[in-house]
Symmetry: C2
Subunit: 380 residues, 2 copies
């Protein structure tokens, strides 16, 4: 047995979900409840009937990579050769970190709060990880100066998820530029910025920075999971500089060979039909409804700039125990937010992908649960 | 950059294919040319229209794992908990080797000739690999005594592909039992047998051993790629003992999250409709036709017991150069078989998945190419 794998934890979120009952109000979901647009599946099926469902090249189908490169048009990353199609953004994260970092000497800098996968991959691969926490004093805003100050001599990758899961914070254009300019001005080998853009299409502010637009050493990661309600399609992609792409594609090839040909065809139809942002309109009233429910329940929340989560402050020392007893005693599933970073101790992550009535009832029960434990949760 | 990934080679087979022309006779393919049964795609699409395309559990859908466990009915491995659904057999190989072997002390024993992926994964993960070569003296038969004699104190996994890619050799029931009995009688921690069964449905002999039937420490790997002409679906599975499954599922989860929900639904339809062996009938006359073409061309071949390859002896010292010049000078793509193991130096792997006319012309050109280089290729 590989001791690095034995030592790493599993998914707390998935373990919590295993605790829920058939009647549970589920605010723990990290995926859309919308149905996907079936026209893309039907066209992809027709394509397979004619062409078969054969291996693609390791890097992925040319037409899809062209469509993706053109759609984002990131300067210096806008060639189809800059795009590798992956088995979801999860494989993209895994392959990028495993390939580009030397466990013997490189360090990754993780901007927290952050989805647990980055730290788990670092642990499995023996990559040193330094955490830089965005905190309550700035409303969890992504602070470029704190990030730049945390860079050390071994830092070779900075990992930023924006819009952020779970805070919903979006890095500003100015902050993005500030980081890009500082990194570009540094002597020595480049520091990659892995920008996980998985919630890019679900954005409620205008001022959103994209590293791909301003920094050529960007590793931009995305997928169809959140934008198109296709978490189960396992179709994502990784933008990377041309000089490192052969190594990335090689590792991807030995790990999974290539992404699904059917999934790639669905993705091609989505890009060809410009159907990436269609479902986004549904999330705006959901967000408004969730924030109204926050006020009704008298809770303190981080108002999200993007993604589909609202973090709620419930206080207390043991947020995992709070979340577990919330399921057991009040039949509400929410995710303890400290698993995304210590600066969220005392917070819960809730998602607003379900019915607003459920969200209202769920938030009320969360407030009651906190009050029953004498925890102060109301707005300051 | 990770030096272990920089050091490992890419796919020679894929590199050779990049050399081909639009008119090339392609005997290099490792995938069926048949079309898949589209009824499964249509049913899976209807299912998604109703249920969405959401994440599955990391281990995979219950109904599919139940169907797979029941179908194979391997004693001690016949619980749905013994089955993890993977992104093709490639991910199954990667995750099984990475999870179950400790690079600091364990050794894998590879039965050669063998598809390159096992050795590449060992190299990337820093796992010591010992090779035990099946050779021409026994017609490349899988020899249990040679395998057992190669076991050392650090051996923790034996890797066997049967039917074998590229030789088409199938391990006999007696040889399988001989290995299983010897391993079961050993004191100390178990030695896993990773039995890659990817060509299991394409078999031309009756006497075929299955480790899952006789040895509880079997890691049985399969997928829909070869049996159902679905290489591009990326849907495979791994059987493993219950006690190690949590670690396997965890590593799979952090690498790729879960297999495609759509792919899992296609697989469920295939198992529910008992459609795994339907295409196998097509391969038998293809094999006969290819062997007739071997005789016509006056070549020496390994007559396959399974899979869809015929290895041809072309002689000479540099089989890669032979294969490259065969493409450039005679427009025929075939794979130098020494990349599967040194005991196949001087052999080419050809596949019989294409039109028989192409196979006949291709074999004639291979014989001519060898003769033009004064290489002796005829049957002894």
């Amino acid at each position: 047995m590989n001791p690095a794998i034995e030592a790493v934890g599993g998914s707390t979120i998935r373990a919590l979900h295993a605790r829920r009952t058939p009647t549970s109000i589920n605010l723990g979901l990290g995926e859309p409840t919308l149905l996907p647009n079936m026209a893309h599946f039907e066209r992809a099926t027709a394509w397979v009937a004619e062409n078969g469902c054969r291996y693609s090249t390791n890097i992925g189908h040319d037409d899809l990579r062209e469509a993706i490169a053109r759609h984002y048009d990131y300067p210096g990353l806008n060639d189809p050769g800059n795009v590798c199609i992956m088995t979801g953004s999860q494989e993209a994260v895994y392959i990028a970190m495993k390939t580009l970092l030397d466990p013997a000497r490189d360090e990754a800098l993780l901007v927290e709060p952050a989805f647990p996968v980055y730290a788990k991959v670092a642990q499995i691969e023996g990559i040193a990880l330094k955490r830089v926490a965005m905190g309550p004093e700035t409303g969890y805003a992504i602070d470029p100066d704190a990030i730049l100050a945390a860079i050390g001599p071994s830092t070779r990758m900075i990992i930023i998820c924006s819009p952020c899961n779970p805070t919903g914070r979006v890095i500003s254009k100015a902050a993005t530029k500030r980081i890009a300019d500082a990194l570009s001005a540094r002597p020595g080998p480049p520091i990659y910025v892995m920008h996980d853009e998985i919630y890019r299409e679900l954005m409620y502010v205008e001022d959103a920075g994209e590293f791909g637009k301003v920094y050529p050493y960007t590793l931009a990661i995305n997928s169809l999971s959140k934008s198109n309600a296709l978490t189960g399609l396992r179709l994502g992609w990784l933008f990377a500089p041309l000089d490192v792409m052969p190594q990335i594609v090689k590792m991807h090839g030995w790990a999974t060979s290539c992404a699904s040909t059917f999934g790639q065809r669905v993705a091609y139809e989505i890009f060809a039909g410009n159907d990436l942002a269609t479902q986004a309109a549904w999330y705006r009233p959901q967000r408004e409804g969730a924030l109204a429910a926050v006020r009704e329940a008298g809770l303190e929340a981080i108002e999200p700039d993007g993604a589909f989560y609202v973090c709620l402050r419930v206080g207390g020392e043991d947020t995992l125990e709070f979340a577990e007893s919330l399921i057991d005693e009040r039949d509400v599933v929410a995710v303890p937010a400290h698993i995304f970073g210590a600066s969220l101790k005392g917070w819960l992550r809730t998602s607003f992908v379900g019915p607003l009535d459920d969200i209202r009832v769920g938030y009320r029960r969360i407030a009651e649960h906190a009050k029953s434990r004498n925890l102060s949760v109301s707005r300051k």
